[in-house]
C-alpha cells in the first residue's frame, strides 16, 4: 500500500517559487507512489498556486497567517463557528486553556527552558482547539492578561517589552498559534520542509499518534530569522520575543524529529549548535532534473554573457554584483550581465536601479524573468551568484549541469557543492567578485579556465546532485521511518 505523507511548507511550495519549492515539486513527482497531503503556511490568502499539482497530491491546504479578518482557521461554516464561540466561555478558557497557555509562554519567554513542557502544551492546546473556538480564546481578555502577567513574571526588567511591543508580540502569537487549530489527516509520516511553524504538525503528530517525523532543512530557519530581524525596524524587545519564540519551536522540532536532513556541513554545524542531536542528522543534497539541464554549447552567443538567476531581494546581493559589474566593464566593455528572477522586493530593486543609473550600466545589463532557466544557462558563458546567504542553491547546481562555469560567494554549502570546480569569493566584496569574473572573461587564460571548470563541475554534478538520487534518498528514509513506526508507540 502506498505511504501517505503530510508535507508541510512555509512561504514556499506550492504558492511561491524558489529552491525549496522546486525541491518539493521534484520530490513529489518522483515519488509517484507516495500520496501527499500538503499543508502550506502562507502570509495571506491572496497567493495563487505557482505549481501544477501532480496526481499523487491527495489534498492541499493553505493556511494564511495574516490577511484574514479573524485569526485561526476560516471554515466558512457560520453556524458551527458561532456554536463553538458560544461554548468557549471564560470558565472553559480558564480551566482548559490557560494551564497549557502559561506553560507555553514560559517556554517562549524563559530562554533555555526544556522543550518537553512546551511540546506537551502544544498537544494540549491542539486538543483544546478541536472543541473550542480559536479566535474567541486567543482574543479573550483572560489570554491577554495572562500574557502580560507572564511577561512581567518571567522577563527581567531590562528586557520587558513596553505596552506597544507587548501588543505586537501578542498579535504575532495570536496569528502564529492558529496552526494549532488546523486538523490534519491521518498519515504514515510527517515531512516538514523546514523547522519552525511548519514543523509543529510533525511534533504534535509524533506525540499524539507516534507518527514518524522527518525534517528537511534547506537553509537554517533560525539563522535566516536572525538575518531578517537584523534588518527590521522592530524594537529590540519585539525582536527578542520573536527570536525566543522561534528558537523554542525550532528546538522542539529538533527534539522530536526522527531524522533531520541537511544539505551540507555548514548547515549541519548550525543544526547541532542549535540543539539537534548529531546522530539524527544526515546529508541529502539537492538534485537537478538531468533531462532539463544539459550541455548545448552551440547556443552560446558571440557576446560574452554572465547570467545570474536569483529573485531580487537583499539576501541575493544583487547590489554587490552591480558594483562589481562597474569594475568588470572597465576591462571588458562589451560584456552582458543578465539578471533574471522575480522582483521579490520592489524597494530593493529600485535601490539596484539607482546603482545602475549611478554607473550608467544600462548597456551592460538585462533585467527580466525566465520560465526557461536551462535555456538561459545554455546562452551564458559564466554563471554568477553573489548571495550573502544560501543553503544549497539550485541555480549553482543547474549551472554545473549546463556546463556553465560558476562564480559564487562562499556562503552556506556553496563551497562544498563546488568543491573547487568554481570560483569562490567573499560576500559583499565587489572588488573580489569582479576579480573572479575577470579571470573567466578577460585575458588569454579565460577561455581555457572556463572550459576546465565547466568540465570538472559537470562531472561532479552527475556524481552527486541528480534529482533521481535525491528522491531515492528520501524514499529510503520514508521506508526506514515507516518500518520504525510499526514498532513505535506515541511518545
Amino acid at each position: 500500500m502506498a505511504a501517505t505523507v503530510l508535507l508541510t511548507t512555509e512561504g514556499t511550495y506550492p504558492y511561491f517559487t524558489g529552491g525549496v519549492s522546486v525541491w518539493c515539486d521534484q520530490l513529489i513527482r518522483r515519488l509517484a507512489n507516495t500520496r501527499y497531503h500538503i499543508f502550506a503556511i502562507v502570509p495571506s490568502p491572496k497567493h495563487p498556486l505557482r505549481f501544477e499539482l501532480p496526481g499523487n497530491i491527495a489534498s492541499c491546504r493553505p493556511f494564511p497567517l495574516w490577511g484574514t479578518s479573524l485569526p485561526g482557521l476560516q471554515t466558512g461554516r457560520v453556524a458551527s463557528t458561532v456554536k463553538r464561540a458560544v461554548e468557549t466561555t471564560e470558565e472553559v478558557i480558564e480551566d482548559r486553556f490557560l494551564p497549557h497557555f502559561r506553560s507555553m509562554l514560559r517556554a517562549f519567554l524563559v530562554q533555555g527552558s526544556p522543550v518537553e513542557p512546551l511540546a506537551a502544551a502544544l498537544v494540549g492546546l491542539q486538543i483544546y482547539f478541536e472543541t473550542y473556538d480559536y479566535a474567541a480564546t486567543m482574543q479573550s481578555r483572560i489570554a491577554w492578561s495572562t500574557f502580560l502577567a507572564a511577561c512581567r513574571s518571567w522577563l527581567p526588567a531590562g528586557r520587558r517589552p513596553n505596552l506597544e511591543e507587548a501588543t505586537a508580540c501578542m498579535r504575532w502569537l495570536i496569528r502564529y498559534l492558529g496552526i494549532l487549530a488546523v486538523p490534519h489527516p491521518s498519515v504514515d509520516l510527517v515531512h516538514a520542509s523546514m523547522t519552525g511553524l511548519a514543523g509543529l504538525p510533525g511534533v504534535i503528530s509524533k506525540l499524539r499518534h507516534g507518527t514518524p517525523y522527518l525534517v528537511t532543512e534547506h537553509g537554517i530557519y533560525l539563522r535566516e530569522l536572525y538575518l531578517a530581524l537584523s534588518r527590521t525596524d522592530y524594537p529590540v524587545n519585539s525582536r527578542r520575543f520573536l527570536l525566543s519564540l522561534n528558537e523554542a519551536i525550532v528546538r522542539t522540532n529538533y527534539r522530536y524529529a526522527d531524522t533531520i536532513t541537511s544539505l551540507g556541513d555548514f548547515n549541519r554545524d548550525w543544526q547541532i549548535r542549535l540543539g539537534a542531536e548529531a546522530s539524527k542528522t544526515m546529508f541529502v543534497p539537492n538534485g537537478v532534473d538531468t533531462e532539463r539541464f544539459g550541455l548545448a554549447p552551440e547556443r552560446r552567443p558571440a557576446r560574452l554573457t554572465v547570467l545570474t538567476l536569483a529573485r531580487c531581494f537583499s539576501l541575493k546581493g544583487i547590489d554587490v554584483l552591480l558594483e562589481a559589474i562597474h569594475l568588470v566593464r572597465q576591462r571588458v566593455p562589451g560584456v552582458l550581465f543578465r539578471i533574471l528572477g522575480e522582483r521579490a522586493d520592489p524597494e530593493y530593486y529600485n535601490q539596484c536601479l539607482s546603482i545602475v543609473e549611478k554607473h550608467q550600466l544600462h548597456s551592460n545589463i538585462e533585467w527580466g524573468e525566465t520560465d526557461d532557466p536551462a535555456g538561459a544557462l545554455n546562452e551564458a558563458h559564466v554563471f554568477c551568484l553573489p548571495s550573502i546567504s544560501e543553503g544549497m542553491p539550485y541555480s549553482v547546481l543547474e549551472a554545473m549541469f549546463s556546463g556553465c562555469p560558476v562564480v559564487a560567494t562562499d556562503v552556506g554549502n556553496v563551497a562544498s557543492v563546488l568543491a573547487g570546480t568554481g570560483l569562490l569569493v567573499r560576500p559583499k566584496d565587489p572588488a573580489g567578485l569582479s576579480d573572479a569574473l575577470l579571470k573567466l572573461l578577460d585575458g588569454p587564460e579565460a577561455v581555457g579556465l572556463r572550459s576546465r571548470l565547466a568540465e570538472a563541475a559537470l562531472r561532479r554534478a552527475h556524481q552527486h546532485f541528480t534529482a533521481d538520487a535525491c528522491a531515492q534518498s528520501f524514499d529510503d528514509i520514508y521506508s526506514r521511518l515507516s518500518l520504525c513506526e510499526q514498532i513505535s508507540q506515541p511518545v
Partner: protein
C-alpha cells in the same frame, strides 16, 4: 585597524542608523558570515578559533551599543486630515450652494408639492437602502486594501456593487407594489420616487468606492459633472428638470464607478493575487453590523424629515407632503455638519497618533495608566469640539439670518434646533468611528437603535400634537441620545483599551 573590520562590526562601533542591537552571540555570528567571515577568515585574518569564537568576543563589546534609529510612523498633519475629511462632504456643500443660488441642483429644487414629495422620498430611501451597503463595502474594501490586496479590494467593490444593485432594484419593486396596494402616491409619482431612489443609490455606492480609494476630490468632480449635465439638459436643451436630474445623477454615478474602478485597477495591475470565492453566508455574518448600522445612521439623519413630511397632511393629495420651509433650515444646518465631518476624520487620526505615543511610553505595570490617559483624551476631544462646533454654528445662524434665508419663525426654529443637534450627531459619529477602529461594529448598534427610536417617537408625538416642524426636536433628542450612548459605549471600552486595541489588530 577599524577599516579592516567586517562592515557589521564597524556599523555597531559607529552606531550607524542601520545598526541593530545583536540579540545574542549567534546573531553576531550570522552577521559576520554575511560579511564573508568564514571559519577560515576568522582564524587567518582575525586570529579567532572560528566565526562563533569571534562572535562571542565581539558580542561582549557590542551588545549594549546604541541602537540605530528606528523608523517611527510619521504623524499626520491634523489640518490636512481635517480638510481630507471635509472633502468627502464637499459635494453635499456644493449641492446646497447650487440649490441656494439657482433654485435647483443635482436633485431637488423648486418643484410642485407632490413631485417634491416623491423626489424627497426617493432620495431619503436611497440613503437608507444603500447606507448599509456602502458601510459594508467600505469595511471589506478597506480591509483588503489595508493588507495590500488591491485585487480583492476591487473584487469586493464589484461584488457589493452587484449586491447594491439587487437590493436597490428589490426595494424599488417592493415599494412600487406596496404603493399599488395602498395608493399613497399616484403611479407617476411612485415611478419618480423609485427612479430617484435607484439613481441616487447608485451614486452613493459609486462615491463609496471613491471613498475606499481615498479620492475625495473625484467625488466632488463627479458631483460637479452631474450638476453640469443637469444644467445642460435642462437649461440648454430644455428637458424637464426631473428627467435632467435623474440623468445627471446617473451620469455622476457612472463617472464615480468608472473612476473608482479605474483607480483600483491601476493599483492591482501586475498583481497576480488570487480572487477568493464568494462566501455569502460568511460575508453576511461579518458585515451584518455594518449593513445594519449604515441604514440606522441614515434613518437617524432623516427620520425627523419623514415624520415632518407625514404630519398634518390634511387635505393633501398624498399622505407625504414635502415641506420646503422645514427642508431649507435643515440644509443650512448641514453646512456646520460638513465641518464637523472633517473633525471626525482628523480626530480619528489623532486617536491613532495618541495611542502610538502612549503605548510606547507605557510599561507593562501601567496598563491602567494608558487606559486612563486615553479616557481623558476622548473626553477632552469632545470638550474641545463641542464649543467650537457651536461657535461655528452660531456664525452659520447669524449669516443665514443676515442673508434673509430664515424668513419665518418656523424656519428659524428648525434651523436653531438643527444647528444644536448636528454637533451632537457629529460626536456620535466620531464615537462610532472609534468603535469601528477597534473592530467593535456590534457595539455601534445599540446607541444607533436607541437614537432612531427616540428620534421617531419624540418627533412623532410632538408633530402630531402640535406642529409638524416640532419633529426637529426628535432629531435633537435622537442626536443627544446617540452622542451620550455612544460616548458611554466608548468610555466603557476605553477602560480596557489596551485589550480592545490588541484585538482590533490581531
Amino acid at each position: 585597524m577599524r577599516a579592516d573590520l567586517p562592515a557589521c562590526l564597524t556599523a555597531g562601533l559607529e552606531a550607524r542608523p542601520s545598526w541593530r542591537i545583536p540579540l545574542d552571540e549567534r546573531d553576531i555570528a550570522v552577521r559576520l558570515e554575511c560579511d564573508g567571515v568564514t571559519d577560515t577568515v576568522a582564524a587567518h585574518t582575525y586570529g579567532f578559533r572560528d566565526v562563533h569564537d569571534m562572535a562571542s568576543e565581539w558580542y561582549g563589546q557590542l551588545h549594549a551599543a546604541q541602537e540605530g534609529d528606528l523608523r517611527t510612523p510619521p504623524r499626520k498633519n491634523l489640518l490636512v486630515e481635517h480638510i481630507r475629511g471635509t472633502a468627502f462632504a464637499l459635494p453635499l456643500a456644493i449641492c446646497c450652494v447650487v440649490m441656494i443660488c439657482f433654485g435647483y441642483s443635482l436633485w431637488g429644487g423648486d418643484l410642485d408639492g407632490s413631485a417634491a414629495a416623491a423626489v424627497a422620498i426617493g432620495v431619503v430611501a436611497s440613503f437608507i437602502v444603500t447606507g448599509g451597503i456602502v458601510q459594508a463595502m467600505a469595511w471589506q474594501g478597506l480591509f483588503y486594501a489595508g493588507s495590500g490586496d488591491f485585487r480583492m479590494s476591487a473584487v469586493a467593490c464589484r461584488r457589493w456593487t452587484g449586491y447594491g444593485g439587487i437590493i436597490l432594484a428589490s426595494a424599488a419593486v417592493a415599494a412600487l407594489l406596496f404603493n399599488a396596494q395602498f395608493g399613497w402616491l399616484s403611479g407617476e409619482l411612485a415611478w419618480l420616487a423609485a427612479s430617484f431612489c435607484i439613481a441616487m443609490g447608485a451614486l452613493w455606492i459609486g462615491t463609496g468606492i471613491l471613498y475606499i480609494v481615498e479620492a475625495p476630490l473625484h467625488v466632488t468632480a463627479a458631483t460637479v459633472y452631474g450638476i453640469t449635465v443637469v444644467f445642460i439638459l435642462h437649461r440648454a436643451l430644455g428637458m424637464s428638470l426631473l428627467e435632467s436630474q435623474i440623468l445627471g445623477v446617473l451620469t455622476a454615478a457612472l463617472a464615480a464607478f468608472l473612476t473608482g474602478f479605474l483607480i483600483l485597477r491601476k493599483r492591482h495591475t501586475g498583481d497576480a493575487s488570487r480572487v477568493y470565492p464568494r462566501m455569502v453566508r460568511q460575508t453576511i455574518f461579518q458585515t451584518a453590523p455594518y449593513l445594519v448600522y449604515g441604514s440606522l445612521y441614515y434613518l437617524l439623519l432623516f427620520a425627523d424629515r419623514i415624520v415632518a413630511w407625514t404630519a398634518q397632511t390634511g387635505a393633501a393629495e398624498t399622505p407625504v407632503v414635502f415641506r420646503g420651509d422645514y427642508e431649507l433650515p435643515h440644509d443650512i444646518a448641514l453646512l456646520g455638519f460638513i465641518i464637523g465631518v472633517g473633525w471626525v476624520h482628523s480626530a480619528c487620526r489623532s486617536f491613532y497618533d495618541r495611542v502610538g505615543v502612549l503605548l510606547r511610553s507605557c510599561d507593562l505595570e501601567k496598563t491602567q495608566w494608558f487606559n486612563n490617559r486615553m479616557l481623558e483624551f476622548h473626553l477632552r476631544q469632545i470638550a474641545i469640539f463641542l464649543p467650537v462646533a457651536y461657535a461655528v454654528n452660531a456664525i452659520i445662524w447669524f449669516s443665514a439670518q443676515s442673508f434673509g434665508l430664515l424668513a419665518t419663525p418656523l424656519t428659524e426654529r428648525v434651523a436653531l434646533i438643527a444647528l444644536a443637534a448636528f454637533p451632537l450627531l457629529t460626536v456620535g459619529l466620531w464615537n462610532v468611528s472609534l468603535l469601528f477602529a477597534l473592530s467593535l461594529p456590534w457595539a455601534a448598534l445599540p446607541p444607533a437603535i436607541c437614537a432612531v427610536l427616540v428620534n421617531l417617537s419624540c418627533g412623532y408625538t410632538l408633530s402630531r400634537i402640535w406642529s409638524y416642524d416640532l419633529a426637529i426636536f426628535g432629531f435633537l433628542a435622537g442626536s443627544a441620545v446617540f452622542c451620550i450612548a455612544s460616548s458611554v459605549s466608548v468610555q466603557r471600552r476605553f477602560r480596557r483599551l489596551d485589550y480592545y486595541y490588541l484585538v482590533s489588530g490581531a
